[in-house]
Every structure is written in C-alpha cells, then in structure tokens.
Amino acid sequence: MSKTLVRLHAVTKRFGDAPPALDAVSGSVSAGAITGLVGPDGAGKTTLIRLMAGLVTAEHGSLDVLGFNPATQSASIHTAIGYMPQRFGLYEDLTVEENLTLYADLRALPTAQRADVFEELLAFTDLRSFKTRPAGKLSGGMKQKLGLACALIRKPRLLLLDEPTVGVDPISRRELWRMVRGLRDEGVGVVWSTAYLDEAEACDRVLLMNAGKLLFDGPPRELTRRTEGRVFRMVDIEGRRRPALAATLALPEVIDGVVQGRAIRVVARDAQHVPSVPREAGPHARLLPASPRFEDSFIDILGGGPGGESKLAEGVRAIPGRGENVIEARALTKRFGDFTAASEISFNVSRGEIFGLLGPNGAGKSTTFRMLCGLLKPTSGEGRVAGIDLRRDTAGARGRLGYMAQKFSLYGDLSARQNLRFFAGVYGLSGARKRQQIEQMIDVFALSAHLDMASRELPLGFKQRLALACAVMHEPEALFLDEPTSGVDPITRREFWCHINGLVEKGVAAVVTTHFMEEAEYCDRISLIYRGRSIALGSPDELKARAVTKDRPEPTMEDAFVALVEAYDRTQVAA
C-alpha cells in the first residue's frame, strides 16, 4: 500500500444555517494515485478540497494533510501542494511565459532552475509554441493546461484539482488526463474533483459524494460491480423509444433506464429477475446484457431512478402535426468583428424531436442557440420558430418558445410563487388560465412546500424544477434548453429528462445544447459544432457508426466526437 498523504476523519463543515456542506466525511488520499472526488454540484467537493488546501477550517473531525494540521499549519501545506481552483487565477493579459514566471516568483522557485522547469512544463503541456500568447487568447482547454502548469511550478507531493475539465472539449480532456496520469506515475498524489460520472471510472480510487455525505469510498470498479449482471441494452425497438422507455420504467423489476441512441439502457432491481420487454417496444425488441457503468451503481446507491411518468406531460394537450418543422435554422451565420462565431449552420427540428447541439465551449453552439431563440441577431441566414421568422416578429416567435438557461436565471430575490406569477404574466396568461397553470405547475413539480421561500435559497433540484416550470407554463411548441442538467445529480437529471421526453411525445420540439456526451445520446439527432461550423449531423448511432474502427467496434459518443473532430482537422490541414 502506498503512502497516505491525507487522512480525513468525520469532517463536518457548515456554512451559516444551511444543511452541512460536509457531513462527517472520512477518507484518505494516497501518494501515486488519482483519487476522484465525484458528485453533483453542491455535494461538497470544493469545500473538501479547500479544507485540504488549508483555506477553510473544519468544524468537527480531524484532518491531516502531509503530516500537518490545516487549521494551524496551512503555510506549511501551501508550500508542499499544488492547487488548481475551478477558476484558476491566470492573468489574462500576461503571456503564457509571464504567467509561469509570476507563479515561479510567488512560489519562490530559484532562478537557476527556472529555465529547466519551464522547458519541462511547456513540453509537458504542449504549450511551447504559445509561449508569447496572452493567456486570455488561449482556448478553454489550453487555459486549463496552463493553470495546471502553474500549479506544478514546484513539483508538489499533493496536487488538488477542482473540476479541471469543466468546459473543456473531449480532446483537451483526454490530454489533461494523460498529463495527470504521468504525474501519478511519478508518485504525486492527485485529488481530481468532477461532476462527470464517466471520469470517475478513470480514477484509481473514488470518494463518491452527494449533498455533503460520503456515499462510497473505494476503487470505482468495486462500485460499478454492484450492478454487475443487472444492466441490459434493449435493442431493435420498433417505433418511438420514449414511450418504450416510459413503459420500461413502469415495470417493478426496473430501477433505472435511459435512452441511448436507438437503444434503451435498463438497470434491473436485482440479478435474479431479468426485466421483461414492454409491448410498447415492439415485437422484435430484446434485451442484451451490457457492462455496468459507474452511473448505474450511483443511481442504485441512491435507491433507483424517479420512474417514467411525467405529470407535466399528462396535463399538456397534444399538438397535432407530428413531423412538421417547428424550428428551422437556415445558414445561420454570426460574425463578431472579423471573428466568425457561427458559420452557415442549418438544421430543422420537427414536432416530437429532440435535437442536440454538441460541442466544446467556445465552438459556437451557444451562439447558434442564442440566434434561434432570438437573443442574438444573425449576421446572415434566418431562424424560424413555429413558422415565424425571428427577424420579422421576434416577440411573436418568442411567445411560442420556452427557454431554460444553464445557470439558474430566475429572480432569486422573488419567491417561487412570485416567479411563477411573473412568468405567467409576461407570457400573457391572465385570469383563470393563469391561476390554473400556476396551480398545475405547483402540483406537478411538488413546489407547495417551498412557495414562499426566496428562490435563490431553494435546494438545487427545486431550482431546476422551478426553472422548468417557468419555461413551460405557457405550453410552448419549441423548447430551448441550454446545458440544462450540467452539475445536477443523476436522479434530478432523470426526472428532468422524463418531463422533456413526455413533452416531446406530446409534440413539442426541443433543442438542447450540451457538452455532456451521455446526454447527447438522449437526442434524436445531433449537430456537432466545432470551430463555428456544423461538422457532422445525424442520429447518435449514425455518428457513432462513423467512428467504428477495427480496434474499436463499439465507440462511445466521446470516441465519435474525438474521431469526427480529428477527421475535420485533417481535412482543414489538407485544404
């Protein structure tokens, strides 16, 4: 067993009157291993990292970091660790090299060693050719690599990384992982916090957290094994797979299920009872055993998914005309000065379809999305919602769409009820219909206990529900969801998608942006946005099929993304 660097024993931390951010968490971090701190937003990951870095002190419990007590000896800890917070303090106007020099000064790296250390770090991060570029002009992935380089100026014994891959494209993400594995092999103890459950599987050891509580401590494979033999893929589904999913989730022997391209992923309650195939899936549908994932077991620990019934969708009237185009993008182009953020992007979304815009931050997916919901005027091309040209009648088109932003974007000072009233009002609902819709939302999303609380104080899951309620209260035909589930726990995410699936079945068209590969598979079709262009468009299965190679017969969505982007880069170089 390798050396233990950090020992936590029953650590509790509270901020104000809120429920504890950390509730009696115990665990350890070893040298020469990557310890994953895994959990949704609000799980306590950042608090735990800041405790280890000696930036905050625990209320109860004991903590030992490299033999020091963080409460009293934080200075000794600071010199021995590398810490990369979520937003690393890079100076955007300084060049890559100046940033490195600054951190070398701050960490008192002797001048004699600098040339060698810089050379090594620049080679390690592959930033040598960008030495003189201001940090502000680097891509998200390169910024993270530079941040990592700055945190490594004096080789730490313990490296704390707080969500290093947020907003980073899959290619840079793989590079970051490669770099951190290299450090681990040199004996550094790494703490890697993440909300992406697929990253958990790559760690040597995982502390799985949810709402301040430690759910699991051990190698990820051990957790994944919980659902061994209980995971299946339902293939050859005839017709629409969302009603099939709802029917599957209604089976008593099923605890979880999600759409996965053309197939449905099913987790059984126990290994003895193989789930049956519901009638809705068609006569040819069958179950194939599948290898379990970390997320399956996480859901299992939490007691299973929320089921497949959407009370929201039940109350909505069906919109006839399936297959009609509701959202149309025609050669949408946006230029900011001489920078083209989005170039000639075209697609249609029809009733009952979920369309995904997939791509790394800064690729142009938000620009495209914002042009389609009327927040940004295209430089050329046109967008239509429900047949209304966004340029001609913006307000008319807006009345037909519902929008949910990535960040909580309701009025935090207003109570839940006041928010509902406000949004009902601005969408032109009044009188009995207004009251009825508000009552329905309160009922569907179980908001009644929180109605008079300022909405900024709502628990994360309720914020999510309230935001969705405000976006769909006026029964829009088109739904625009911007990174709707980033950072939320998997149960809330399933609940959210259950409502979206239900609404889509009633004839709503939805556009979803995501950089979350898992989520991309819930979509009917995806447009892969990269460097302002749509480089691939098709169903998740089609895109995955394009990445099939001899050594990789069953690529994941992320494999497909990387393969398509690399292929695109090659054509650009050739051209």
Binding site: R398, Y411, D413, G425
Partner: protein
C-alpha cells in the same frame, strides 16, 4: 400588453423591495441626505470669534464695541491692547476677524470728519470672511447713522431698510430643504433605474426576460415606471418632512409640483437606463450613477448660484434637469409659483426627457440586439 406590463412593474418593485441591498439604497442615502444637508451643510455663518483692539478713548469706541458684543452672531469678542496680538489671533485662527478702532474714532465722529474702523479678515476662509465683513459693516454703519441722527450733526443720512420676501428671516432650511426634494428624487430615480438592467445582466436573469414575448417598448416602460413610482414616493415623504419637521410654508400647488416631478423623473430615469444599458454589473452601474450625480448636483444651483459660475460653464447647466426642477420645488414651496411659471420650467424637462429616453431606448436596443 397591459397584463404583461403590469407583471413587469410588479416584478421590478418586488425585486427592489425584497433585495436587502437595494432596500438599503432606498432608505440609507435619503435619510443621510436629509440630515447632512438640512443640519450640517449650512452656508450661514454663526458662532464667530472676533478680537477687538480699541485704541479710542472716547465713548463712541466703547459703544461700538458693545454693539458688536451684543450681536448673537458673535460667540466671543476678545479685547486686546496690542496690534501684534491682533495679528496673532488671526494667524492662529483664534478669530476670523480683527476689529481695529483707531485713536481718533470718537474725535472724528464728533468733528463730523469721516471716521474709520479697520477690519482684518482671515482670507483663508473667504466665504465666511465675506459674510462677517457684511455683518460688521452693517453694525458700524448703523451705529454711525444713529450717532449722527442723535446729535443732528448731519441733516439725515439715507437709511437702507431691507425686507426679505418669501423668507423674511432668511431661514436657511427654507432654502435648502425644498431643494432636497429635488435632490432625493434625482438620487433615487437614477440609482434604481441604473441598477435595474445591470442587476439582470449580473444575475443572469436578462436572457430569460429577453426570450419572453415582450416588445422592447414594454420592457423599457417596465424598467422606467417602477423607479418613477419609487421616486414619487420619496418626493411625498420629503414633502411631508419639509412641512412637518422643518415647518417650511407650502404656499403653492402640490399638483403642479407632482406634475413637474413626472417629467423630471422621466428625464432622470432616461439617464439611469442609459447608464444601466452600458453596465454589466451593479457595481459599474452605481459608479456610473455617481459619475453623473456629483456634477449634476454641483451644476444645478442647489448650493451655489448658477450666476456665480464662469460664463463658459453656465451653458452646461441648461441641459441639467435638476436645475429646472429645483426652481419648481423652491417656487412651489416659498412663493406659490403660478401655473405659467411651472410650465416654463417644465418644458425644458420635457425636452430633456425626450432626449434621454430616446437615447436610452436606442442604446438598450443596440446592446441587446
């Protein structure tokens, strides 16, 4: 349209009232202003210290010193016997003015020759020195006139008898407090509007608002009306305080005051919205608001007469809405300003409002695309 507008107005008022920080802005600065301007920032000169060197041995010199001592303006009158002591008292700021009565004062007066008294004033405090000079001059002149009349030496000198209209005792708060109504309306109208769009941008609610089926005029009205309503509420509270606490007579029509206030608040809200459209955070908005507030207050005639400003600066005051509204608040309170006069001051406010609202609407549209 009305239901949507009403929803916007209710939301805007709730946001301002439920956020502890903006609640503080509604209460804190207005109270501080009232206290500071009404009680502390006075231009009156009271509690003055003097030194007197009386080298005249006759009765007139003594009588003059008594009259000076008898004035309530002067806190202490120190008699010295040495010209050097006079100089020292001014040097060390023990006195703002030294009065020097020469040895021939009584003799000259009796002989009907021009008698003279010397004042040495502390020019470092120019404003107060000027006022003290005026007070002392009046005392000396009145005494000389009395003396001449009593002895019939001079036929009869013309006497100046001042009568102050509208504010007979020249009570300073009668002058400042009605002006404060305008100042507070400007402060609140500007800050609440300046924060409104910036707050939405900072907290991320702006996009959610912009995807709602609202037309730009609706959003603009929704952003302008609530600060104006809050401004009117503050005007009402200040009017009450002016009458009830400071006992300033309210001689004119409140209706005219409120009518004019609407245009003033519209002009100010336009400026606030302009600032807010430019700013991405509330902090920037507050800074922007104060960047406007300070010069607007200085160039309004609130504390210093516009006529005293250099000629090249004076034209700038003609675009300052506060300048016109100050005339209205003071006029309505002290002199029952007639309708035609109020209109004359309100017409410029109307034009300023048209300009600021147009520019704000243009910028808002441009910045939100």
């Amino acid at each position: 349209m009305w239901a949507r507008l009403l929803a916007l107005i209710v939301k805007e008022l709730l946001v301002v009232l439920r956020d502890p920080r903006s609640r503080f802005i509604l209460v804190g600065p207005p109270v501080v202003q009232l206290v500071v301007f009404a009680f502390a920032a006075t231009l009156e000169v009271k509690n003055v210290d003097l030194v007197v060197l009386n080298r005249d041995e006759g009765a007139s010199g003594l009588e003059l010193v008594r009259r000076i001592e008898g004035s309530p303006t002067f806190r202490s009158v120190l008699a010295v016997h040495d010209p050097k002591a006079l100089q020292k008292a001014i040097d060390q700021q023990q006195a703002i003015c030294a009065v020097h009565i020469g040895p021939s004062f009584s003799r000259d007066l009796v002989a009907g020759r021009p008698a003279s008294v010397q004042f040495m004033l502390d020019g470092r405090r120019s404003n107060a020195a000027q006022i003290v000079n005026g007070y002392l001059g009046t005392i000396v002149n009145t005494y000389v006139a009395d003396e001449n009349e009593r002895s019939h030496r001079v036929a009869s000198t013309p006497r100046v008898v001042p009568r102050n209209w509208f504010n007979p005792n020249l009570t300073f708060t009668w002058f400042t407090v009605p002006g404060l109504i305008a100042i507070v309306a400007q402060l609140i109208g500007l800050i609440v509007t300046a924060l409104s769009v910036a707050r939405e941008r900072e907290l991320g609610t702006f996009d959610q608002l912009m995807v709602a089926p609202l037309r730009t005029p609706e959003i603009l009205l929704g952003k302008l009306i609530p600060p104006m309503l809050i401004g009117l509420a503050h005007i009402t509270l200040y009017v009450l305080a002016t009458v009830l606490i400071f006992s300033v007579p309210l001689r004119g029509s409140l209706l005219l005051l409120y009518g004019s206030a609407l245009f003033f608040l519209a002009a100010v809200a336009g400026i606030g919205l302009f600032i807010s459209s430019l700013c991405a955070t509330q902090q920037q908005a507050i800074l922007g608001a104060f960047l406007f507030l300070a010069p607007a207050t200085l160039l309004s005639g609130f504390a210093t007469p516009i006529e005293n400003m250099p000629p090249w600066l004076q034209p700038l005051t003609t675009v300052n809405p506060l300048r016109y509204f100050l005339v209205v608040t003071r006029g309505v309170f002290l002199k029952a300003m007639p309708f035609a006069e109020v209109v004359k001051s309100t017409v410029p406010l109307f034009f300023i409002a048209v300009v600021t609202l147009t520019v704000a609407a243009w910028l808002f549209r441009r910045r939100t695309e």
